[in-house]
């Protein structure tokens, strides 16, 4: 099995895909982290300066309530721990999609380049090949996370040091945010793996993964809210949104409640992994029966 995983890793390393996706990951992370740092500077100013910069209305025209709201926002967003955690997880919005797509490519390349014959000649036990691929998908997803996190750490170090606030690496909140980010990458890798094994066609699987990634609560919330209000007036209807992969992903990556009555963060991860493994399992059962062409 080690040899098989080694073989799959070698497949990943010896084609351009990995390097292209890795470079895209590094580039996007750099952009997103830098952009966020620029945003964070607003929240790091004294409250009066922040308010003056953020709102066009003159201060004397604002109600005390409005000012209180702005103050709460300034407080949470300006929290150094929050800023550090956000920088160290920057790139995620694109990175999760890349992890999913990389996993799709890793599986479907065998069909695309007609290499299944060679692969199954070397390892006729097809289930083992797929298991090795799953292992490599986990490694590759973690690899993308690592690329992104290293870039984030560099940007974060430069930014936070320049602001004299310390790197916050000892903060449990920061550490858990970074680890949660790793889990999210792996979860999306497993999800993409499942799609690839089941769908087989590279283009269709890639498009499906991308579409599902962007089918988020912004898009589907309307439908669920309509059902909730017009058909079944129960709260679980809103919770059920988590079965939509894009929503599950958002729930997984959003600390606190994504929307009122949203299920806990971990449910999002469980839903995505369940989808990935189920699709992968069904795909493997079919693959073992099918003739290789």
């Amino acid at each position: 099995m080690t040899g098989l995983i080694g073989s799959e890793l070698l497949k990943l390393r010896t084609v351009r895909t990995w390097w292209t996706v890795g470079a895209a990951m590094a580039g996007t992370t750099l952009l997103m982290a830098s952009w966020y740092c620029w945003q964070a500077t607003n929240f790091m100013q004294p409250f009066e300066d922040y308010l003056a910069g953020a709102i066009l209305t003159p201060r004397q025209d604002m109600s005390a309530e409005q000012i209180a709201t702005m103050h709460r926002l300034w407080e949470t967003q300006g929290d150094v721990g929050h800023i550090a955690a956000t920088i160290y997880t920057s790139g995620q919005a694109v990175g999760l999609l890349l992890a999913g797509v990389l996993a799709v490519l890793l599986v479907t390349d065998e069909y695309q380049h007609r290499t299944l014959t060679a692969t199954f000649l070397a390892t006729p036990r097809r289930g083992r090949v797929i298991a090795a691929k799953l292992a490599v998908v986990v490694i590759a997803s973690a690899g993308l996370w690592l690329v992104s996190t290293v870039v984030d750490l560099v940007v974060g170090t430069v930014f936070l040091t320049s602001r004299d606030v310390g790197l916050q690496l000892g903060s449990p909140d920061v550490v858990s945010a970074v680890l949660l980010n790793l889990a999210a990458y792996v979860v999306w890798g497993v999800f993409g793996f499942g799609l690839g094994v089941l769908i087989r066609n590279q283009v269709i699987a890639t498009v499906t993964a991308t579409a599902l990634y962007f089918l988020t609560s912004v898009v589907v919330a309307f439908a669920f809210r309509a059902i909730h209000e017009l058909v079944i007036e129960e709260d679980w209807v809103l919770k059920v949104q988590v079965i939509i992969p894009g929503v599950a992903s958002q729930i997984m990556t959003t600390p606190g409640e994504l929307f009122a009555g949203a299920p806990a963060q971990w449910t999002g991860a469980v839903v995505l992994v369940a989808y990935g493994l189920t699709a992968g399992l069904v795909g493997t059962v079919l693959l073992r029966r099918r003739d290789v062409v």
Binding site: G3, L4, G6, S7, L10, K11, T14, V15, R16, T17, D109, H113, R114, T115, T117, A118, T119, F120, L121, A122, T123, P124, R125, R289, D291, V292, V293
Partner: protein, 313 residues
């Protein structure tokens, strides 16, 4: 069994009652034959006869609808070290376009537990070392065939299974391939090589297995199969006393057809050896103008045997 070098038990290919049906079409129909070690066996049949399907079932790439195909008594998927037991070169086998030939082989090495240097060794053996670090997408058809062969040789296998290996090779490459196959058999290995052209394997193969429409048509030592095919040969004879000779030939048991090319009558004789025709002509034909074996070559005989479905090139 694997890795200990070739021995006769582990190298015998046995196909028994092998059948493959695809949605109502029978591609391979109750096919049985045996392939022995130390010999090159030609696996012949016209395009679409079921050769590739048979080989893919032998290699566990396709599942038989019925029957078995084993190597040394094991199905391919049961082999502990498949690449060290069987080397296969299949037409449809590809490689990733952006991966180099060398990396492609190293991937197989890693999966089969072979040292990575094996990749360089086989590349050298097939003469592909200069192109080892070029991407597969840049390979010519001939280079792809060589890489495919290199892949088959990776595990130093006791059994070689090659599907139409001559495709895409230049005459020099074909000669080199023949030599290689002969040497492999001489080393005690089993070599099964498919082709749709009898002339391609006639000189190389010790044994022949001929199939058509998924069924066995002929099997045996090449010499026997070929002489069986050649019995259909005709002798062309032209004499002064045509009518007398025709009567003599017919009473000797030959089948005679008379034709009139160029105004002179010619007899086409089948069912008699050339020598027998010659002595009858001397005794009954008067003056002898022409006596020749008609060149009905092997290709035609093969064509005849496979019901006219073989492709002639």
């Amino acid at each position: 069994m694997a890795g200990k070098g070739p021995n006769s038990e582990s190298g015998t290919i046995e196909v028994k009652g092998l059948t493959k049906r695809y949605r109502g079409v029978v591609a391979v129909d109750n096919l049985s034959f045996t392939v022995a070690p130390r010999r090159v066996t030609g696996f012949l049949g016209p395009n679409g006869a079921g050769k590739t399907t048979t080989l893919r079932m032998l290699l566990s790439l396709a599942a038989p609808s019925a029957g078995t195909a084993t190597i040394g008594g094991y199905r391919y998927e049961e082999l502990a070290e498949p690449l060290k037991t069987v080397g296969a070169m299949l037409d449809e086998s590809g490689a990733h376009k952006s991966r180099t030939g060398r990396d492609h082989l190293r991937v197989q090495c890693a999966a089969a537990g072979l040292p990575a240097r094996k990749a360089d060794e086989v590349l050298d053996l097939v003469g592909l070392t200069p192109a080892a670090r070029r991407r597969y997408g840049e390979y010519s058809l001939g280079m792809r065939q060589r890489l495919n062969l290199a892949q088959a040789l990776l595990g130093d296998p006791a059994v070689l299974v090659l599907d139409e290996p001559a495709n895409g090779l230049d005459p020099e490459g074909i000669a080199w391939m023949r030599e290689l196959l002969r040497n492999f058999a001489a080393e005690g290995r089993t070599v099964l090589v498919s082709s749709h052209l009898i002339s391609e394997v006639e000189q190389t193969a010790d044994d022949l297995v001929i199939i058509n429409r998924g069924r066995l048509v002929a099997q045996g030592a090449t010499r026997e199969v070929v002489s069986g095919l050649s019995r259909a040969r005709r002798v062309r004879v032209r004499v002064s006393r045509t009518v007398d000779l025709e009567a003599a030939l017919t009473s000797a048991g030959a089948t005679v057809t008379a034709g009139v090319p160029g105004g002179e009558e010619v007899l086409l004789v089948s069912g008699l050896e050339t020598a027998a025709v010659s002595s009858l002509a001397a005794a009954h034909g008067g003056e002898l103008y022409e006596l020749a074996e008609e060149k009905r070559d092997l290709e035609h005989a093969f064509l005849h045997l496979t019901g006219g479905e073989a492709t002639i090139r």
